[in-house]
Structures are given as structure tokens and as C-alpha cells.
Point group: C2
Chain length 418, copies 2
């Protein structure tokens, strides 16, 4: 596939994240106005809510875009998803006969504020990156025992807090929590000292399911993807996580990029999972390429200073696809719903500069990073801005996600200060 | 406090679960009609939705009861909760001057079907019963290492699946899952063989919070309580739970009793948590009696046979109150919302007949129970009906919850059969 040309000129640049091939879905407002659904095209946003109200887009008797989130479209399923994409592609393509109707519906992106693109029903976070699991396991249990016995048989995951998911650009307040280092006799209630990122992709469930679904069905249920940063307080986690897993360590915030990149836009970038180290049982077996070739990077910028790229990796480093994760999620009969968000787990590549968390990059704080500014970091310091970026590279075009960024504010002086 | 008399005669029996002192909130329908909010009084239900529509109840300019769940009232906060309770008490009390207006709004309970009383936002399950933690820990790690090091310092919990919460009476399909017993080399995908109950209370968050809240504030945010059965597949759990906690083992279903018993109704039964074995840090310290004296029991009935009571205990056996759990839940800044459901964790007393799970009652299957029918059980068999009951006993009156019951159906022949 090559670049599809749009009459929105800025969309035709080979490096622009939002060409006609992409058409990602977001929610925007202008100067505090009502939030509308919109689709990014070049430097502009097409106001889909108004387009529907004016009859330029008309998919259903009931309005699909009169609420400020994409869930009503998501639950319609693949046929309606395809119909919308076809209509948007037609409206915005070079030579469209309806350009004059669409032009008044375009808003410059730089005049807008972006909001959560969908209502998160429930949020699940996985631990399905092979190199991340190996790194973390090696740090805590040594290289021979790095992987838990179940790891190569099921995508390990835990339920997170949907209420903590925020859109890119939201400031993140350093959390308080109960901490105890091994050399202390008693725990103490303090601000986290080992606050970290996790570089992940988030898969968004489009259509609901009631019972177990196959890997192929699961792939069909997925609507699209976002970048996802699962902010993690490593010191809270170390004290709390046995025996029932992470809880408050992961509940402060999870940031997502503002644009839902649809499965359709990513279709040309599908790729296989890595070779299986042990065969998967039938219910989780690969049945087609369900990962995606998406370049990912992380930058860190101390307050008022330029950013340093601290990691580069690729989504294809995952051991399990989101489809396998969703299939596993459904095995028990767990109902899955429109708007469920599945975090991939931290994505790390095989070498040191490909690691998707500071825990791994600084090897538990033992090997601090040196930024371009000359400063060093083991974990996040107050005022640091962490930014994830992602792009799939086609022939003469780019599928971008928009940044997933957040600045860490100092903890409140007392946890109960408002 | 003694029995408050109602003109609904059935409500004045000392053993009836729904006297005027109780007034629990549910959602009902009659012969498939529209679901309405209702309050139980004796053998009747007062149709609150219709009472509001007709102006008999009028708390707000906007309707609070036109949707089939109690969340709109829950988010109003304590003043409106108290106003509704006062109005209902007035309307239903002996001598009410509005009896003639209310009588036509009463529906016999036995003519109704009950539904989920509230929309569950997110669901968290705790592990905060001292005897349960001791029993389970002893089985797995020996009595000396039974309690994890953090257990006496924080209420250990994990996020569950809100989508899996169902109302009492819903059949429960035995789940498939990936299992591996220690003597097997590889896992297999099979129906669970160690399917279990957990006897719990559920606390329902009424008003939302954004940052850390104190234990007293947390108590103020709680709207009411239900009985809760956290169905658990012990064999799925054993294979999956390291290192990130239970996931599919707990995602098949969680049943709740159909009536929300308000904090106001339980006020006379408040009691203290047990003596602290080690002092709690300030942010979790007890600041008043926040447990409740509620007798609890579990019965098991094989298909078509009478039930046997297999456990009796009391909610006051908990080590942590729901207020302490909610306070802990908020420490990281985790936003808590109207409709969040917090499971107490399995409630077990100190002696064998007080254990709130089959895992404990049969000591991991080594000591099968004998039912009154002569049958034995280590875990649940297909067709078994498990029922939780709860009652707080006042002077001449009872505060009941309604049964929390479910029948376990056989697993589908294939997990992907519909």
C-alpha cells in the first residue's frame, strides 16, 4: 500500500502521522466548547459530530456521534466500522465531489484540546513482553528462574483501574503509598521514590462477547489501538504485590494517546508473533499475523529542558498478540465489553536501549541513565515529562498515534491535601 | 433500637428480613415489565420509580429513579440518602397520613423478578479476613509463614471484573480454564475441577472521590452493603496467579444479594475491628466502629435435594473494615466512583464450621464435607445450589439481605459452544 492522497494538503507528507491512510478517531473541543468526535486528517480535524448532524455522514437511523466518545460506533461492529472508513476516505480523498461540504467542517488541530477518545469500561494490563519479563525476572529471581512457569503458556495479566485512565497531556501527581524496603523493619507511608513508566500499546475492545472466544474471533472484536503508559510505583508494588498482584502501584494513572488508530489503518503492518518457545495449547494458538510492526520510542525531558530519547523498540517484540490476550481473557466466561482496554504489557526489545521501563533501563536503579542534558536518572523526578511515540512506516506514508505524554508533579505535602 | 411498626403487617414480624427499620433498595419487574427501583417492606415492594413519577417521593428537580439502578441516588450523598429514608419511613410507618396514596404502589414480592440493584462501576476484591488468610496461608506455606509480611499492615486486594457481577438467582456456568497440577508436566485446557465459593460482604461506594481519603471519609462515602459470593476456580488460580494475582479464576461470576442494605439500617449493629496484632499506620488507623455484627451462613443443596448449612460465621470476624479498604484503595490517588463494589474478602471464623469457602472447609479437598443427604463434597459439583444468607439481629427485629444464591451448571461440552 502507498500513500492515498487527500485534498487536505498537509496530509500528503510522507512523515505526517495523519495521512488519508490513517484516519484515527478522537474527541476534541475548541476554546472550552462542547466536545465532539473528530477524525484527524493532516493538520486538521474533521468534526464528525457536526458532519453527522448535517447529514454528511449518515450510518444509522440513530445518531452515533452525538456523545463525546466513540463507544456507540465501536459497538456497531466491523461492517459499520468499514462503512464509516469508506465514507471518510471518500469525503477526504483528492477529487472528492463533496469537498465543499466538508471544508467548513475542518478545524485546525492546533486550535483544539483533545479529550479521552472513548469511555473505558474496564482496563486490563498484561505482562506479555518476552524481554521485559526476562529482564524483570532476572532482576528479582536470577536468569534461570526469570520466567514464571506459566509465562510461556498463557498471557499473564491482571485487572487494572479503568477510573485511572487519562488522556495524553494530563499531569500525573506522584503518589503516596505504603512502602517497606527489605532493610526496614516496618513500612512507612511516603511519596513513591521509584515512580516509573511502562511503554505499552493498548488494544480497545469494539464488540462485546459473553463466553470464551477464539483467537480469530478476538481479533475481529478489536476496534483499534492506542499508545499506553502504565505509570508504576515500583516501591509500592514491591511491598503490596504478594500474594494478589499489583494494586495501588498501578492505580495512580494510565495515560493513553488521544487518537484511536483503527485496525483497518494498521492492516498493512500486521506481522507474526515470535517463534513459540513451547507450543501453545489450541485455544491460544496463532492463526494469522496479529501483531503489528510499529516503531515505538520514549523520551524524557527534565523540567524546562530538552528531551532525550531513552528507549526505542517495536510492538512486534511482544510474545502474545492482543487477540491472544483477549481470547485468554474470555476463557473463564468473563464478559468482555465495548470500551474494554487491554494493555499489552511493557514492550522491550533484546538490547539495553530497547527497554520500555526505567526499572529495566537503570537495572533497578543500579545503572542510572545519563540524559543529553548531563543529568542522570534511575526513576522519574518531579517535573520530568515522559513521552511515548509510535509510528508504522508504509511506502511513502506514516501511520502515527499522536504523542502519549505526561508530566510528573511533586507529591502533595500531605496525602490528604486537596 | 426496637422494631418500628409499619402498616404493612408482614413487616412487623421479629424474624422478617424487611421491617420498617431496614428499607433495602432493589430493582424489580413484574412479568417482564419495565424494571423499576423498589424498596422492600415486609412481603411487599414499594415501587419507588412510580412513587416519584406520581410525586409521592420528590427529592430533586431531576428524577432520581427513572433508570433501573440506584446509582443516581447513590451519587447524591448522605443528605439526600437521609431524606429518602426519612420520607420512606414516614410513608410506610403505622399511622402514616399518606397510606392511601402508597397502598396502590405496593407489589407483592413473590410476583416480581429481581435484577441488579445498581450498575457496578468497578469491582475490587479484598483478602482481609484474618482466619481465612491464616487458613489458606497454612495450607500453602505452613502455619509459621501463613500471613504474607504486608498482611497486618494493609488490606490486600486486587481488581476484579465488574462485568462478571450478577444478581442472586443467576445460574453459574462451570468455567473452562488452563490448569496444571504440580505432578503434570504440561498444562491442559479443561473445565475447572475445584470450583468454589467465597462468603463475603460487598460494600458499595456512593459518592466519588479523586485523591486519598481518610478512613472516616471513606466510611462516609459508603452507601450500603450486599452479600457477595466470589465464585473461584481454585485450579485455574493455582496455575495463573504468580506473579500478578488471580485473573480468570475469579472472572466467571460474582453473585450479589438483590437488596442494598443501607448503612443507615445497619447503624445499630456497628462494632469494632478485632484487636490490632501490630499497630496500623496513621492513614489506616481505626477511628470508630466500622464493622457490623451480621450473622452469615452458607448452605449447599445438591440438585433436587434439601440444603445443608455448611458454614456459619459473622461479618465482625473481618480484620479490616470496608472503610479501611476504601481508604487504602484511594491512597495512590486512584479515583473511586459511584457504584464501585468492594468485596470484603472471604469471611471465616476461628473454628472449622465457621469457614467461608470449600477450600477451607474441606482443607484443600483432603477432608471432604458430609452433607445431610449423606453425599460428600470437596468442591462444588454440577447442579449444586450455593446460598449465602445474612441477618443483623436487633431487639425484636431483623435486618436481612435476601438470599445470595446460584446454581452451578455443567461446563459446556466445548468451551466455544454457545
Amino acid at each position: 500500500m502507498t500513500l492515498s492522497k487527500s485534498w487536505v494538503a498537509s496530509a500528503n507528507d510522507a512523515n505526517h502521522p495523519f495521512p488519508l491512510n490513517n484516519l484515527p478517531y478522537g474527541v476534541f473541543s475548541v476554546d472550552g466548547s462542547e466536545q465532539h468526535c473528530g477524525v484527524a486528517i493532516g493538520d486538521m480535524i474533521l468534526d464528525v459530530t457536526t458532519a453527522e448532524a448535517e447529514g454528511v455522514i449518515n450510518l444509522d437511523d440513530e445518531p452515533l456521534f452525538d456523545l463525546p466518545f466513540w463507544n456507540p460506533l465501536m459497538e456497531q461492529g466491523p461492517a459499520v466500522w468499514a462503512a464509516l472508513r469508506a465514507r471518510l476516505t471518500y469525503l477526504l480523498a483528492e477529487g472528492s465531489e463533496e469537498q465543499d461540504k466538508v471544508e467548513p467542517l475542518l478545524v485546525p488541530q492546533n486550535a483544539t484540546e483533545l479529550h479521552m477518545p472513548f469511555a473505558v469500561s474496564e482496563y486490563t494490563d498484561f505482562y506479555a513482553g518476552r524481554h521485559h519479563a526476562q529482564n524483570v525476572g532476572t532482576m528479582f529471581r536470577g536468569p534461570e528462574n526469570a520466567l514464571p512457569p506459566n509465562w510461556l503458556h498463557i498471557p499473564i495479566g491482571y485487572n487494572g483501574r479503568a477510573s485511572s485512565v487519562v488522556v495524553s497531556g494530563t499531569d500525573i501527581r506522584r503518589p503516596w503509598g505504603q512502602l517497606k524496603s527489605p532493610d526496614q523493619e516496618k513500612p512507612a507511608f511516603l511519596p513513591s521514590r521509584r515512580f516509573d513508566i511502562e511503554l505499552e500499546m493498548g488494544a480497545i475492545v469494539g464488540t462485546p462477547s459473553e463466553g470464551p472466544i477464539t483467537v480469530q474471533e478476538a481479533d475481529d472484536h478489536i476496534f483499534g489501538y492506542v499508545l499506553l503508559n502504565d505509570w508504576s510505583a515500583r516501591d509500592i508494588q514491591a511491598w503490596e504485590y504478594q500474594p494478589l498482584g499489583p494494586f495501588q502501584a498501578k492505580a495512580t494513572a494510565t495515560s493513553i494517546s488521544p487518537w484511536i488508530v483503527t485496525k483497518a489503518a494498521l492492516e498493512p503492518f500486521r506481522c507474526d508473533t515470535p517463534a513459540r518457545e513451547v507450543p501453545l495449547l489450541d485455544h491460544l494458538k496463532d492463526c494469522g499475523p496479529m501483531l503489528y510492526d510499529i516503531d515505538l520510542s520514549v523520551t524524557m525531558a527534565p523540567e524546562g529542558k530538552p528531551a532525550t530519547t531513552i528507549a526505542r523498540t517495536n510492538y512486534k517484540e511482544m510474545y502474545y498478540s492482543a487477540a491472544q490476550q483477549l481470547a485468554h481473557h474470555s476463557t473463564s466466561g468473563c464478559p468482555m465489553n465495548t470500551g474494554d482496554l487491554l494493555g499489552s504489557g511493557t514492550i522491550s526489545g533484546p538490547t539495553k536501549p530497547e527497554r520500555g521501563s526505567l526499572l529495566e533501563l537503570s537495572w533497578g536503579g543500579k545503572e542510572p541513565l545519563t540524559l543529553n542534558t548531563g543529568e542522570t536518572r534511575s526513576f522519574i523526578e518531579d517535573g520530568d515529562t515522559l513521552t511515548l511515540t509510535g509510528a508504522a512506516k508504509g511506502k511513502g506514508y506514516t501511520i502515527g498515534f499522536g504523542d502519549c505524554t505526561g508530566t510528573v508533579l511533586p507529591a502533595h505535602s500531605s496525602p490528604y491535601a486537596r
